[in-house]
Symmetry: C2
Subunit: 255 residues, 2 copies
């Protein structure tokens, strides 16, 4: 809503860039976006957009450059493994116009990890230690191969468990905005019945982002009326108003 | 991969545009992209990218104009309900610079549906009959309120069950490209062990898009080696080569 965007003009924003043919072919159901979206929201960072793009160098480079100039932060997932289709690190180096080479610390982390597990280092495995010049590393507590950060771009693995650990380790270091909290009132009324009073409520509270999301609960129709705002007082008043709205329209609050 | 894109230069492409604050806030896990990605792939349409954007007029209008000029088809989901936050239809009209008004057929469909269910029509409900000038309707067999198509843009509901029905009804009418089939060989070898022969195999079959996707199977590590191509003969040869590759590297094919 326009109101939400106005309220956050000076607040940090982020874009998410999911890199991988497997998502665009329908082979893989992405779970990373929702995880990051929730974490960013809880941290007061507004997620302005997300994009899913293929493992294609020019597309990755161009999209990354667009997003990193338009947002406080960019988070990428996918394409940093040892195989030939893992081209994200090289693309990030190209986007920033810097070199890329074996990073001594990344190499040392990987060599220790492999030594403990009797894994033989080889040229392909060591590709995972290739990091753009000037980047800092992001720890990978699951399988050692680190992510990295160049300026405002955080480059993470695509495997959800690894991505989540990397994201969790990065999040506390990011700029905090006003946290957008939410209230949700779920009821059994059709959207068409409550649309008019909901619109009036939105007009009364322009700084609260009011949304209406139909769905099912225990197999029965329901609609969730959700208010989001950084203003806790207004949010509480909206929650009370939503309860009154449902009762006035002859409905029942569920759950 | 470059090879895949070269192979499909003359083939139809699509972009998916998911519209909704609820996805960017982490409230809702999107399921629509994977469904469309699979359907498009099976139909021979290459999904070039997907974007998730907020319920913000200028963002929707600008993104839609970018995507519709760059792709054969654009599929949007979300924002066509009766409430104040449903602004997609108006944004589509604005993007195409056409008017928007009550569509007689859409109104008639909705009035019949409501009459059968003793639902009272009101101004908010009738918002769902507002359709950009010149659009054709997309049937909604679940809850009547139609989607619509303007030129190469297909505008659908965000509720997965409704979106899927709309998408399924539209898909047969779309231009068919060469269908990209896939073969998948899952094994218990680390990616670092097979990266080198996999790279050699990719070089040998430049028109097959070879990917390597690590994950878990019954709690144990596995990696799926996936080949995608419109050339069935090459794909079969790649599948046989993948089996040999796993055996030569001392691994077991799983599943």
């Amino acid at each position: 809503m326009a109101s939400q965007h106005n309220a956050n003009l000076s607040a940090p924003t982020a874009a998410v860039l999911l890199i991988g043919n497997e998502i665009l072919s329908g082979r893989t159901q992405d779970l990373n976006l929702a995880y990051m979206a929730k974490g960013l929201s809880d941290h007061g960072i507004r997620l302005s957009e997300a994009r899913v793009i293929p493992d294609d160098e020019s597309v990755i480079v161009n999209t990354l450059n667009t997003l990193r100039h338009a947002n406080t932060y960019v988070f990428t997932t996918g394409g940093i493994g040892p195989t030939h289709d893992d081209i994200t690190a090289d693309c990030v180096a190209k986007a920033f116009n810097v070199g890329i080479d074996i990073h001594p610390e990344a190499q040392s982390i990987l060599l220790s990890y492999w030594a403990e597990r009797d894994v033989e280092p080889n040229a392909d495995r060591l590709r995972m230690a290739r990091i753009p010049d000037g980047a800092s590393l992001i720890e990978n507590p699951v399988s050692a191969a680190p992510g990295f950060c160049v300026e405002n771009v955080y480059v993470m693995a695509g495997v959800p468990r690894i991505m989540q650990a990397m994201f969790d380790s990065v999040l506390p270091s990011l700029q905090r905005g006003a946290v957008i909290n939410s209230v949700s009132v779920t009821c059994d009324l059709p959207e068409g019945t409550i649309a008019s009073p909901l619109r009036a409520l939105q007009a009364q509270f322009p700084d609260v982002d009011l949304g209406s999301y139909p769905g099912k609960l225990d197999g029965k129709y329901k609609v969730s009326l959700v208010g989001r705002s950084s203003d806790a007082d207004q949010l509480q008043r909206v929650e009370q108003a939503l309860h009154r709205l449902v009762e006035s329209a002859g409905g029942n609050v569920l759950g």
